[in-house]
Symmetry: C3
């Protein structure tokens, strides 16, 4: 029976593109498994923007654009008029970015901006060599994630709003001012970098650095470059985008927080040295080392607890108490190996977040402990917010305990009853959406 199922899955995967082909306009590896929503043309304009052709026809100069739009959409015209684009000796007018034919209007991409700002584009592109997570790969890796086509598209659209950091520059530089001074401030970052699994806003704001920013930051000279001595306290961009470098990955320890890393590997030593040089802008040299010792120690404590909980889950697995088990779950599209060799998802897993939907409840509970609370604790410690580190460790404690209780329950209850398939396997994630996204 299971074999038959596998064969069906393989057949469907092979034949699906042919069957569904016409009109499918997705992008990436699973292009044939999803169609873009209208909203996608905003989040990934390079791939999905379709110019509006029904209303206005004609080719216009920038002055003509402005004349009309000052009445139609006055806000964006006012914003542009205060921008460096408008105030330059040779102003950058609307057609420079949008084209001049109103029936073929362009939504600008990083490449559009890169025509005049090649250094910034090159810095961003350079991130790709560091892999994901990174701004530059945010859209590509989201769309190519194994589970992408299996997630309800409406939720995917929510995800892509933040992942559009890779595909349009106004994620950080709000159109139509595109103000560097704005993008230097933490508010430019925290629209995305907030909430689980990356509470960068509350961990930064609850640090001594963040307090200083909250108290007086609005009056700092934000037109200054992000250089030593220019700011009374560091903010997101000061540390992560030093000197305005749009390459934010070269100090980032790969997947730190999500996996246990060895801080003394050759590569991580280099990265840590870069951090310490930064800390030394304001602090004596020793504080960097001390700070990282505290972070290592916090991480070690967190992993000790995470591994204890992983053991509980692995024991449940070997006792076949996880339901649905890995073999009861549909594999992801094109995930050939999983059709014959299904894998549980306990702890670090390549596919990350969304990969943890079609799992048993207790696996998901651990996922939240690991991906939400543990990452929160890491962010708290890394941003110097002891109160936040404490709060997320308390949460981990509570979750570890709840998982223990649930594991105990599973050992005493015959695992049946609720129809998981009805709840999760259809209608939420996997095959259903694969045909309908």
């Amino acid at each position: 029976m299971r074999i038959a199922g596998y064969l069906l899955v393989i057949f469907l995967q092979l034949s699906w593109p042919a069957l569904a082909g016409i009109g499918a306009q997705g992008t990436g590896e699973f292009a044939d498994h999803w169609r873009p929503d209208p909203m996608h043309e905003y989040w990934d304009p390079g791939a999905h923007h379709r110019p509006e052709t029904e209303r206005v026809a004609g080719v216009f100069t920038g002055e003509e654009c402005l004349e009309c739009h000052a009445a139609i959409t006055p806000g964006i015209v006012k914003d542009w008029r205060t921008s460096r684009h408008a105030l330059a000796d040779k102003p950058v007018l609307c057609p420079a970015c949008h084209g001049e034919d109103h029936q073929k209007l362009i939504f600008p991409t990083p490449q559009t901006c890169g025509a005049c700002h090649p250094q910034r584009l090159a810095q961003m592109e350079e991130e790709k060599k560091y892999g994901f997570p990174s701004h530059a790969l945010a859209m590509e890796r989201a769309v190519d994630a194994k589970h992408f086509a299996d997630k309800p598209k409406a939720e995917v659209t929510s995800c892509l709003q933040c992942h559009s950091v890779a595909t349009k520059c106004d994620s950080c530089h709000t159109r139509h001012r595109f103000d560097a001074a704005e993008a230097r401030r933490p508010e430019a970052c925290i629209t995305c970098h907030s909430g689980p699994p990356h509470p960068d806003d509350e961990t930064f704001f609850n640090s001594a650095h963040g307090r200083k920013y909250r108290l007086e930051g609005k009056n700092w000279a934000w037109n200054n470059p992000l250089k030593k001595g220019n700011y009374p306290a560091p903010t997101c961009a000061y540390c992560h985008m030093r000197d305005g470098n749009h390459q934010v990955a070269d100090k980032a320890v790969w997947k730190f927080g999500i996996r246990e890393i060895n801080p003394t590997s050759a590569e991580n030593k280099i990265k840590r040295k870069r951090w310490m040089e930064l800390c030394a802008d304001c602090h004596p040299n020793e504080i960097g080392e001390t700070f990282f010792q505290a972070l290592d120690s916090e991480r070690s404590t967190a992993w000790q607890q995470l591994y204890n909980v992983e053991k509980i889950l692995k024991k449940l697995r070997s006792d076949t108490l996880l339901s649905p088990s890995a073999s009861e779950r549909p594999p992801y599209p094109m995930e050939w190996l999983a059709t014959v060799w299904p894998k549980e998802r306990i702890g670090f897993y390549e596919g990350q977040a969304s990969a943890f939907y079609n799992v048993s409840a207790i696996e998901r509970d651990y996922f939240e402990m690991w991906y939400f609370s543990n990452l929160g604790a890491y962010k708290g410690m890394a941003h110097g917010a002891g109160e936040m580190a404490k709060k997320f460790h308390e949460r981990m404690d509570a979750e570890a305990r709840a998982i223990g209780v649930e594991a105990e329950r599973l050992r005493h209850t015959k695992k049946e009853g609720v129809d998981w398939k009805a709840l999760w396997m259809r209608g939420e994630y996997t095959e259903f959406n694969r045909d309908h996204n």
Copy 2:
């Protein structure tokens, strides 16, 4: 036995006002079932304010008031001195709102303010034709809710603080400046519109609009009317109180978020058109349509999941696994029908929030999924904050899973043990408070 109980309930409901009568000073349908706390005279001054008569006697002019209070309560005098009331050619002095007899002082109501601001009062009153939720009916419908008399009064008092938006104008226009510029800013709204079930603050602040406000909003010209072209980005009042219209209900789709609505009904099409006209202040026409398509799609996904979970609960109900069941719960006062035909509360229920207290644990879990997380997802999407929509959908996923686990447990456990009556039926909600509120 149950019949006898019903008769007793009916007898008590009929005779209660007579038995408790003397001194009962509540308002609304259940006036006889509760007495106002002292704090109520602040939240509903028209109904409950009792002038202080023990200290100061006499009739005073505004100048006399000011002279004394500049020493006694200097803050409010300073605030008034910077108000339009003070700076007008013919200043509006203390007695205009409070009366001149210190033993008969008035706490102003919307009617007091409406004497000089009749248009604003009329706009607010006009909301009533749209039903609840609305600012104008916030107090009346709270007090007349079926469960009002059954909630511990101390908690009711907390609720009424926000519901006082209907009964006093300084909920939004802080006394004694009553500054329109203040009330135009989001901070005036979010004292109430924050947290579950209406995280309007975090969903707005995490949108691109909110980011712009956070970055530069304090410097915008808040004395400008809320009109196209006057503000670089929209805020609560810009969209919901266009041109300062104090009628905030005419664009609101009725109970959108709480129920599955048909966005293409005649009425909703009109409302949506009003929204899109507003979006067009700054955005091309298409974006309104695209945005609402994304919202419809998100809602449809949310309801698909909510209905899946409702099915689990309804199956439990038909298998008599909900404890306490509807028939084991005391009916609300004057809820005649429920005494003979008890109803479970699974999903949308007229009485809303507080109606979900005297229910089984799993019904309450679903209530939180539906009323807190689902509404959060809706607000996230409606305010353009993808990160928040994602966050609340993740929460819904976790809650759906937990409900599934609990349902499974209930099928394997004989439902007895904890004395629900001891925990909930006495001392928290229902009859006990009905006699003591």
Copy 3:
């Protein structure tokens, strides 16, 4: 067997200091059970700071310090240059606080600052007579808490960051400006006073007072003393540190929120009168009384519900359904009595927060209800934020219900299965850390 265990514990506790002695550098009662992390020299410099001796040698004047550090750490020099220390007729230069020998540099303690600011130091020290919680005892009582040596040190380090309010003045007066105007603003407080169990930030910011601050507070004259008439609305310091008094404990009702207190005791009447005098800065006298009546009423409702849940736990205890039970838990170090007379921790317990780790899951659930949600409700009510009081009461309701469900489950399940010892008794809290902290 158990007796043998007791004897072993007693033996170990007696002999431990002798066995572990050499090199142990902790402080307080459990000095021999823990060693400070490097970070501790920042959180408690008086006890743990070790001067850096490897880099720079020499004795320097303030001018020499400034010359070098303007290049090395320009931020702190700039901060100092705008401080009253720099602008005084006789500037307070670096050596005044740090010493002049670069190999014996001092990290300043409250005593360092007290040399010039004796009144502020005396006020802070005076708090000690009120016991804990208080700023002055924050470090001492943390380190001397029964469970201190049993908590993983990395988490303890997080805790100490906030508790360092007792051991260094720049917790509130950010170095190197040490600005009184900064410390008067709520941001100075909420780096620590945020999140559970003390959501002072969100409860204040969601009050009418907080709204006023959020709207216009940045423009208030923060150089003004915290006196009647100087501020349009109160903030943390205005109420809790009136006139800048660094003694914040004389209006604080002892452990209000954590225990049920009698508001009409002789002592509490005096404290309440102090509060009402403060409210009268802006409000008519009656409002203080009304406000406190509402608070008393909210507290009474909260305790009614907490006691109902405590009853459930006590019944479980008498039926020996708590696992691990008190007798299965290791006693805290030096807790002689507990080795022979183990005590459950249900509700108010001297050791507070961290004492609730090595308990059964349901005791911990109640702890969170009592210590996080109940305290949140109290803070909401006490700060005049009805919306927050409501939110935390809703959370208490949900938690009470979940505890009821879990209690029911425990009555139907044989209590074994998960190895609590593996999860909690080793590696997280207690003996293991006692040897390794």
